[in-house]
Every structure is written in C-alpha cells, then in structure tokens.
Amino acid sequence: MTPTYPAGRDAWLFLTPEVEREVPALMDALSQARADSELHRIEHLVNGGSIRSWFDYLRDCRQRLELAVAEGGDEDTARRLAAVLREQYLLVPALRPEEPSDEPERRRLEELTWTLP
C-alpha cells in the first residue's frame, strides 16, 4: 500500500517550533554560535526554506553538537540539544518517505542522548 503524506509544500513547518524555541539558546550555551544569528538562520528557513534545507540545517546542528561534545561542552546542554534534534527524526516519517540519511542521523542522536554521562 502506498503511504499517504500530508499535502501542501508547507506541511513540514510543523517541525520547526521546538527547534526555533530551543536550539538558538542551546547552541549559544554549547558552542561559538550566537543565539541571535542561529535564530536568524532558523527564521530564514521557516520563511523560505524547504523540508530538505531544514534537514540540512539539522544535520549541521548535529555536527556542531558532536564537535562541542568532543571539546568538552556542557553535557546536560548537549543531551537536551540531542533530544530536540532526535525528535525531528521521529516526526519526519509522517511527512515524507524516509531518506537514506534519516536513520543514521536518528541513531547518532539517540546515542548522544544515551552515551553522555
């Protein structure tokens, strides 16, 4: 049976609120990123992005998160950020067929939430 996905190019926007609310401050606390420029980046995506560019951004967040962890960033903050990002990969199957990169990304974020002490 063919799975059905919500119609409309904007359906993916429902993913964005928690990221917009949480990620700028978490990134600010964890890495060199400034909250306002992170927020600007997210707002730009909400306004004119696509589901693809959104997940490109999430992948970039995960990479920066790993870097911050390797450099000794705050573990509670890292765990929270990983949890927010991971949630996105749990929500996306309702929106589109799975991309090859989804599962590895989700697993990596899951590991981060577990392995951080």
Partner: protein, 370 residues
C-alpha cells in the same frame, strides 16, 4: 482506562461534549448566569434603536429607551410567543408584536392589545416582557439573565482596562456575518484557545506569527492571547502584501502594534484585535452538536485604498485559517463520539484551554465525571 498521567493537566471528558444533560446544564448554569456580549454601543446609541440577539436560545432585545436608558428585554410576546423584534433597527416609541399586534412600552410593560375586550380577565398591568440586566464595557454591550451574577464592572477583571486602550466604542461597526457549524460549542472554543495546533494546522499563520512568543494569559473570566508578528517578510504573496501595507488604525495602542491579539470572553465571545481592524466572533450554542456563530468587523472607517486593501487581505488570510479550523473541529467532533476516547492531556501551550475547562468545572459541577 485513560492513558493520561494523573500529574498532567487534563481536558474535560468526552462525555462533556456529547451529553444532552451537560448541554442543558451549560445553558442554565453558564450562559444564563454569565454576562454575554450583545452588540456594539453604536448599535443602540440612539433612543428607539434596538438590536436582537439570543442567550442560551432565549430571544433577547437590547434597546435604548426614549430617556436614554439601555434596556434588555425578552423578545418573546406574552400572548402567543412570537418573536417581537427582528434583526436590528428602530422602534421609537413602542415594540409591536408582528403576529397579533400586542404592543409593549420600552420598559417591557404592556401598552396596548388589539381587540382587548375579547380577552376574559386580561390583567394588563400584570403583563410585561421579562427584563434583564444590561451594561456597557469599553464600547461593547453585555446582557446578563441572572440577578445573582456579579456586576459587569468587575466580572471580567481587568479586561475593561485592557480594551479601553482600543477605543472600540469609537470604531465603525460592520454588519453581521452569520455562520453555522456542526460542532459542540466547546470544540470551537477549545480550538480558538490554543496555539499548539498552529504549526501543523495553519502553516501560513506560522510564517506570519512568531510562534515562540505566542502566549495565552488566563485572567478573570477571560484569556488574553498575544500573537506577535514576525519581522521577516513572508515568502507568500498575500502574507507579504499584508506585512508591507498594514498600518495601524489611528489611536491603536503602540504596545499592541505588531501583534495579532486574541481575546476569549467567557463563555463564548472572542475578540480578534488586528492593528488594521478588530472583530468580534460569538458562538450561539444551538444544540449539542450544532453552533451558530456571528462575526462583526470594526475599523476606523478609513476609506483609503491602502487601508481597504489591507482589511481585505486580512480577511482573506483569516478566512483560510477559519477553513482550516473547521476541518480540524470536524475531526475532533467525530473523535469525541468515539467509545475508546475518554479525555485528553494538555500541553503548557494549551493553558487557555485548561483555564476554559476549569471555568466549566467551576460552573457545572460534575462535568468532569467520565
């Protein structure tokens, strides 16, 4: 068994939406005991002017008597129960029933009866239209059918002060926009009272409003919802047009400019406050699974092309939101009939719904029983 953790805020049980007994109690214990929005002050500004409405299905006429007093009367003739006044208009001296011509004074007392001597023992002095409490708050007229309810001045807490800044009484009131939905009235109110569904239900609104700052603040018999707008121009043409051309009405409060603000007045009136115009939206429960609504628009009266265009675009954007909400409410109404659904759980973003449900719990004891 409910899947909802006990520590979490819970909705009312599904039974509250599908039980005829609960509906009847809501009419008696909520609508007939609350201050209900009737009309704009300008609708009944002139002596003799009247406006008809209904409360809990009870026909009510609001009118300005020749001495300038605001009055609210039952709009049901004491002879054979016909509706006396229709819509809105002027009845300078008396109210006349269109069925047999019984005629009443503006204070409700019977003035005259055609063929009066044809009635045995008609005590004219004893016949009067029941009268209700009526008052004005920030340019809006409210009616209360109960003598026991606290005065209008204090009923909505600080809402009067909040609304005073808008000078609603000075705005130009538009006509009535009636509509009807196959939903229990609380399904519609619940939907209005939370923004949690905006990201998935209204993607367009998510581009316009800064959802992370969307905030419902429950207060005495009302909820004030701030929906700040984003600074960034939307990619959508109509949304961008609105952002670019919108300018606040003269006298619009600075602190509300840049936001769409939503207000719920217990039990079933809503005020949408846009910088370019305001509207009221009222629910009239019309059976367990049916609700009539009436919307009205208020604006400065500016006829400038830019302002008219902005109002039109605003209407279009919000009509889309309304269409989306109707679909969502259709699904909820159907789901509430499910035998396996008992009650739901509320996110912190749904605090407006919690406040509304707690008001219902307070006014209709037992409504929370599954």
């Amino acid at each position: 068994m409910s899947a909802v953790a006990q520590s979490t805020s819970q909705t009312l049980p599904a039974r509250a939406y599908v039980s005829p007994e609960v509906y009847e109690r809501e009419m008696r214990e909520v609508f007939m005991r609350s201050w209900i929005f009737a009309c704009h002050a300008s609708d009944v500004a002139e002596p003799g002017s009247y406006w008809t409405t209904s409360i809990a299905g009870e026909p009510v006429a609001v009118l300005r008597d020749p001495d300038g007093n605001l009055r609210a009367l039952s709009n049901v003739c004491r002879h054979r129960a016909a509706r006396i006044l229709t819509g809105e208009g002027s009845c300078p001296k008396v109210l006349r029933c269109p069925y047999h011509g019984w005629t009443y004074r503006p204070d409700g007392r019977l003035a005259a009866v055609p063929e009066a001597r044809g009635f045995d023992n008609l005590d004219r002095e004893a016949v009067a239209l029941p009268s209700f409490r009526v008052g004005e708050l920030s340019g809006l007229v409210f009616v209360c059918m109960s003598e026991e309810t606290e005065p209008l001045e204090t009923y909505f807490g600080d809402l009067g002060e909040k609304l005073e800044r808008l000078h609603m009484g000075d705005l130009q009131a538009g006509g009535r926009y009636p509509n009807a939905f196959n939903h229990n009235w609380k399904v519609i109110a619940d939907n209005y009272l939370e923004g949690y569904h905006i990201p998935i239900g209204h993607p367009g609104l998510l581009r316009l409003l800064d959802y992370k700052r969307y905030l419902a603040t429950p207060a005495k018999n009302h909820t004030w919802i701030d929906g700040p707008m984003r600074d960034k121009p939307s990619k959508h043409y109509a949304e961008r047009l609105y952002q670019r051309l919108m300018r606040p009405m003269a006298g619009f409060p600075e602190e509300l400019n840049g936001s769409w603000t939503y207000v719920h007045l217990w039990p079933a009136t809503f005020i949408d406050i846009y910088p370019d115009q305001l509207d009221t939206w009222q629910l009239f429960p019309d059976g367990l699974r049916h609700t009539r609504t009436e919307a009205r628009v208020y604006h400065s009266g500016s006829t400038a092309l830019r302002d008219r265009l902005v109002r039109k675009v605003n209407w279009r954007l919000n009509s889309k939101v309304m269409d989306e909400d109707v679909e969502l409410c259709d699904m909820v109404q159907a789901g509430l009939e499910s035998r396996t659904y008992e009650r739901g759980v509320l996110n912190r973003n749904e605090n407006g719904v919690l406040h509304f449900h707690n008001l219902l719990r307070a006014h209709v004891p037992g409504i929370d029983e599954p």
